[in-house]
C-alpha cells in the first residue's frame, strides 16, 4: 500500500481486538475507509460485524489496536466521542420516535434555540438535507409512523448527516425493506459517496454489496478473511470467504452450471 493511499484514508483500523470474557469477538482486525468510498463489511452471524460497529460508534472500547481517524490516532470511549469526531452510526432499528414528525426526529436532541424552538430554520434545514439526498418524502410535518420503511431509513440517515460526519456506518440498511425501498436506500448510499463521505455498510445481501460497495471486507470468526475490490470478485468468492469453505451449495451449483455449459 503506497503512502499516498494511506493519507487518503479517513478511517483506518490496525490490529483491533476485543474479547468478551473467554470469547475473542475480534482478533487483529484491519480496515481502511477512504473518503468517497463505500466499504461493505460482510460476514456470517457471529463474525464480529456488530462488535466492530459498536467499537467504531463508541459503544464498546477495543481491548487493543489503533484507530486512526483523519491521520490522527484517536480513542472512541463513548457514543458522544464518536459523534464529535465525525463518525455517525445508523443502527438497524433506526431509533426514531413514531409520534414525532420528520423535523422533530431529525433535530431530536439537537434542536435549534432550546428555549424558543426555531421551527422555520429547522424545517428549511430538513428540506435542504432531504433534497440533497433526493429523498422522496412528501411532507416533513407528518409523524414518522406514517412513513414507509425506506423513508424511515432515509430519515435516520439524514439525521446522522446533521452533524456533518466524515464517516457514516449503516448497519443492515436494507434488511427489512422491499425491492423499491431497497433501491431507494442504495441510491442514498450512492449519494453519500458523491458527497465524499466514507461509508461503512454492514450487509448480508450480496446483490446490494455488488450494487453499491467499492470494497468488500470479509470477517470470519472475528478475523479478517480478505478484502476484495468489488469489481474483481464474484459473489461466490465472497460467500466462500464468509463461510471459509469453497464447497457449499452456491459453489456446487455454479460448478454444475459450468459443467453443463461446457458439455
Amino acid at each position: 500500500m503506497s503512502s499516498n493511499q494511506q493519507s487518503d484514508n479517513v478511517l483506518s483500523l490496525r490490529g483491533i481486538s476485543k474479547t468478551f470474557g473467554a470469547v475473542a469477538a475480534l482478533t487483529d482486525i484491519d480496515l481502511d475507509v477512504a473518503a468517497g468510498q463505500v466499504v461493505a463489511i460482510v460476514g456470517d452471524n457471529g463474525a464480529g460485524k456488530s462488535t466492530l460497529v459498536k467499537i467504531l460508534s463508541g459503544v464498546h472500547p477495543p481491548d487493543s489496536g489503533k484507530i486512526v481517524f483523519d491521520s490522527k490516532t484517536v480513542e472512541i470511549p463513548t457514543p458522544a466521542a464518536a459523534h464529535r469526531l465525525g463518525i455517525a452510526t445508523v443502527f438497524q432499528d433506526l431509533a426514531l420516535c413514531e409520534n414525532l414528525n420528520v423535523i422533530q426526529n431529525l433535530f431530536l436532541g439537537q434542536e435549534l434555540r432550546p428555549l424558543r424552538l426555531n421551527d422555520v430554520a429547522m424545517e428549511t434545514r430538513s428540506w435542504d438535507l432531504l433534497r440533497q439526498l433526493s429523498a422522496k418524502i412528501p411532507s416533513v410535518r407528518v409523524p414518522v409512523a406514517s412513513l414507509s420503511g425506506g423513508q424511515r431509513q432515509t430519515v435516520a440517515i439524514a439525521r446522522s448527516l446533521l452533524g456533518d460526519p466524515k464517516v457514516i456506518i449503516l448497519d443492515e440498511p436494507t434488511a427489512a425493506l422491499g425491492v423499491a425501498q431497497t433501491a431507494e436506500v442504495l441510491n442514498l448510499v450512492e449519494r453519500l459517496r458523491e458527497r465524499g463521505l466514507g461509508v461503512i455498510m454492514i450487509s448480508h445481501n450480496m446483490a446490494d454489496v455488488k450494487a453499491v460497495a467499492d470494497t468488500v471486507a470479509v470477517l470470519r470468526l472475528g478475523r479478517n478473511n480478505g478484502v476484495f475490490d468489488v469489481n474483481d470478485v464474484s459473489p461466490e468468492d465472497i460467500i466462500a470467504a464468509i463461510t471459509g469453505a469453497t464447497d457449499n451449495a452456491v459453489s456446487q451449483r455454479q460448478a454444475r452450471r459450468k459443467e453443463g455449459l461446457s458439455s
Binding site: 432499528d93 420516535c97 422533530q104 436532541g109 432550546p114 424558543r116 428540506w127 406514517s146
Partner: protein, 414 residues
C-alpha cells in the same frame, strides 16, 4: 418547470401532496386527521356539548351564569393537579398519589400557616417544596431501581395519606382564617370585567401577531404559510368566543382569579411542552425511550423533571383546594380527587400510552369532569351515582383513546 418550482413553497413541491389551502383546506385537514385516529380535542368538545345539553335539559339551572362561575372555581384545584398528570402521562408513566400529595400539601399549609403562625408565603413555598421533594424521591426510585411508577405512587398514596393524618394531629381539621389573603383569593377575588375583556382582546391580538410574524418568517424561508385572512379569521373566532365567555360569566360574579391562575399555568405548560427543547424531549421519551436516549437526551433527567412537576402541581392543587374550602382536614385530597385528575387528563386527549396529549387537555378535561359532578349535584343525586357516572366517563375516555390508537395504527399514524 423552474417557474413552477419557484412559485411553490419548499414544503409543497412534492407532486403527491394534495393542495390544502385556505379555510376549506384547514377544515378537510382536521376531518382527515380525525379519521386517521389523530383525534386531538375533538372527543372532549363533542363530549362537552352532549353532557351540557343533557344536564341543561334535566335541570335548567345548569347552564346559568352563576352555576358556570361556580364550576370554573371548583375546577381550578383539580385542574392544576390534572396538569401535572398530563406531564407524567406524556412520558408514559402514571402518578396515582396526586390526591394524597395534595391532601398532605393542604395539611402542611394549614399547620404552618395557622398552627405555627408563619407568613402565608412561607407556608405555600414549604408545601410546594414538599411536593417537589416527593416527586424527586419517586424519580430516584424509578431511575435507580426501575420500579414501575404505578407501584411507587400507589405506595406513596397510602404513605402520604398517613403522613397527612399525622401532620393534622388529633384535631383532624384546621380552619384557615376567612380574612386571610389566601382564602380571599380563592373565594372572593374576581377579575374586573374591563380587565377580563382586556385579557380576551390581548389573547386574540397576540394570536394574530404571533401567527402573522411566524407566517412571514416562513414565507421568507420559502415555506408554505397561513394566509393573513386565515389568521384574522382564527383570531376573530377566538375573540368572539372569549368575549362571549367573559360576558356570560360577567352576568353574575365573573371570572375568579383562581381560575385565571389555572389558565395561566395551562398556557405556560403549553408553551414549555410545545415550544422548548425540554417539551420535545418529554414527547420523545413518551414515544420511544431508546430513540431518545440515543439522540443524546438525558432520559433520567426528563423523568425526574416530569415526576417533580407532577407532584409540585399536586401540591399547588392542594393549596388551592384548602384555600377554596378555607380548611384542611382528614378528607382533603381524598375521595375522587385522584381519579378525577387522571380522568381529566385522559378525557382531555392525553394518551395513557405516552407521547400524545397537550396542556389544554387538562383544561377541557377538568371542565367535563366538573360539569358532570356539578350537574349531578344539582339534580340532588348523591355521591354514589356521581362516582358511578364519573367512572363510566373515565372508562369511555380510555376506550376512545384505545380505539384512536388502533385507528392510528391501521392508518399508519401510530
Amino acid at each position: 418547470m423552474s417557474t413552477t418550482v419557484k412559485s411553490t413553497a419548499t414544503d409543497r413541491q412534492d407532486e403527491r401532496l394534495r393542495s390544502q389551502e385556505g379555510l376549506r383546506g384547514a377544515i378537510s385537514d382536521v376531518v382527515e386527521r380525525a379519521r386517521g385516529g389523530d383525534l386531538g380535542v375533538i372527543p372532549v368538545v363533542v363530549g362537552l356539548i352532549v353532557i351540557w345539553s343533557v344536564l341543561q335539559i334535566l335541570n335548567p339551572v345548569f347552564l346559568s351564569s352563576a352555576n358556570l362561575v361556580n364550576l370554573t372555581l371548583e375546577s381550578a384545584a383539580v385542574g392544576v393537579i390534572a396538569l401535572g398528570i398530563v406531564c407524567v402521562l406524556l412520558v408514559g408513566e402514571i402518578d396515582l398519589s396526586v390526591g394524597s400529595v395534595s391532601g398532605l400539601s393542604s395539611a402542611v399549609l394549614a399547620v404552618l400557616f395557622v398552627s405555627q403562625g408563619l407568613p402565608v408565603w412561607v407556608a405555600i413555598l414549604a408545601s410546594v417544596l414538599m411536593g417537589a421533594v416527593v416527586g424527586w424521591v419517586y424519580a430516584q426510585l424509578y431511575n435507580r431501581f426501575g420500579v414501575p411508577s404505578f407501584v411507587i405512587s400507589m405506595a406513596g398514596l397510602l404513605a402520604f395519606l398517613g403522613l397527612q393524618l399525622y401532620v393534622l394531629g388529633s384535631k383532624g381539621s384546621i380552619n384557615l382564617p376567612f380574612d386571610s389573603g389566601l382564602v380571599n383569593f380563592a373565594q372572593l377575588a374576581f377579575v374586573p370585567d374591563w380587565l377580563s375583556y382586556t385579557f380576551a382582546v390581548v389573547a386574540a391580538v397576540w394570536l394574530f401577531v404571533s401567527g402573522y410574524l411566524h407566517a412571514s418568517e416562513r414565507r421568507r424561508a420559502g415555506l408554505s404559510s397561513k394566509t393573513t385572512s386565515m389568521l384574522a379569521i382564527r383570531s376573530a373566532a377566538l375573540l368572539v368566543v372569549l368575549a362571549f365567555v367573559v360576558w356570560y360569566l360577567g352576568q353574575t360574579r365573573g371570572i375568579g382569579w383562581m381560575f385565571m391562575l389555572f389558565v395561566g399555568m395551562v398556557l405556560v405548560m403549553h408553551y414549555l411542552l410545545s415550544r422548548t427543547k425540554w417539551g420535545r424531549s418529554v414527547y420523545a421519551v413518551g414515544g420511544n425511550v431508546e430513540a431518545a436516549r440515543r439522540a443524546g437526551i438525558n432520559v433520567k433527567a426528563v423523568y425526574t423533571s416530569v415526576f417533580v412537576l407532577c407532584s409540585s402541581f399536586a401540591a399547588v392543587g392542594g393549596i388551592l383546594a384548602a384555600a377554596r374550602l378555607a380548611a384542611a382536614n382528614q378528607s382533603s385530597g381524598g375521595g375522587d380527587i385522584n381519579l378525577n385528575a387522571i380522568a381529566a387528563a385522559v378525557i382531555g386527549g392525553t394518551s395513557l400510552f405516552g407521547g400524545r396529549g397537550s396542556a389544554f387537555g387538562a383544561l377541557l378535561g377538568i371542565i367535563v369532569i366538573q360539569s358532570i359532578s356539578s350537574g349531578l349535584t344539582l339534580l340532588n343525586l348523591d355521591s354514589s351515582i356521581r362516582f358511578v357516572v364519573t367512572g363510566a366517563v373515565l372508562l369511555l375516555a380510555v376506550v376512545v383513546d384505545s380505539i384512536a390508537r388502533k385507528s392510528r395504527t391501521s392508518h399508519g399514524r401510530a
